[in-house]
Symmetry: C2
Subunit: 187 residues, 2 copies
């Protein structure tokens, strides 16, 4: 069987405030409440900072994949670039919370909405290898967002990234999103 | 679509030490390292105690189901008793960690091993409504165990519970268990 993806759990903190390599260029409340204004963003891997001096700190863990099949996992692994590429000077942090109605669904129902009806994996695949992506899970941690998705791309790929985000927001899956913020960044 | 199961995340701490309503009658290292000796066990729901005075504290969250289908979810909900029944004076806390090999598998591969090859859900269903069960997830929290399963049953149902535990340990799914402790309790 395929053995790809992270096998350990990596805690990651996204810290909005006055420090960090990423400059916040926009912060939009897409669904529900937004985030307070922050000038810069730092991304900490490993046991988190205490949040002192931060405007906000969002936490999540890079953990095992929850929906993709073995075949999809292989295809994604073959095309997915690493984070931190030299030319990838644009980034987006998109924290999302899904509704109680989503979490009350069974695994097969959630998978059907996510892929068979919304083509979430397929849409993401189309933006590879231009757009690097890493998903962080916050739900079991009691965090305000269930997911923190982090994207990195080159300025030349910005239009393709906007297409991806727009396409996802138009899917049936997004009917279950009850809070979403879109933070754009440059370094 | 079905909407069953918890829609919020409930943190739970299992505290082994000198206090609590449950008396530890046995603690067995089934696979890998065991737990230190504790006379009693307390179960705390909500934001956890600080662990002061405890011999060990294991944390997990009651969260959404990860593998069951909508049909299985309905069948389980229809037969599952509540915790805390008067006659259910026996309990078991079975902390389990699965191997990196398990977590590297895709969702469809894990589901196939768990149910199609190991009949985990089917076996659990057979012990309902005699054995009440609640699953707590610890993996994303960075806890030493991925799962803390809690069972409650009446003395008259003890043999059925032993059959369930033995049957599960003989499945292909259990090849992926790399640490398991079995703590038995009475109140």
């Amino acid at each position: 069987m395929t053995e790809t993806g992270p096998v350990t759990v990596l805690p990651v903190s996204f810290v909005g405030g006055a420090h960090g390599p990423w400059r916040v260029t926009a912060s939009t409340a897409v669904v529900g409440e937004g985030l307070a204004g922050a000038e810069r963003l730092a991304v900490h891997e490993g046991p988190g900072p205490d949040g002192a001096g931060a405007v906000w700190t969002l936490r999540g863990v890079v953990s095992h994949a929850r929906y993709v099949t073995a075949a999809e996992s292989r295809a994604l692994a073959a095309r997915s670039p690493a984070l931190g590429r030299d030319g990838a000077t644009r980034a987006a942090l998109i924290p999302v919370r899904k509704s109680p109605r989503w979490w009350a669904l069974a695994q097969d129902e959630r998978r059907e909405i996510l892929e068979e009806r919304s083509r979430h994996v397929t849409l993401g695949m189309r933006s590879l290898p231009a757009v690097a992506r890493r998903l962080h899970h916050g739900r079991d941690l009691g965090e305000p967002f269930d997911f923190l998705t982090w994207f990195e791309y080159a300025p030349a790929d910005a239009a393709g990234f906007e297409d991806l985000v727009s396409a996802l927001r138009a899917t049936p899956e997004w009917d279950y999103v009850d809070r979403e913020v879109d933070v754009r960044l440059e370094r």
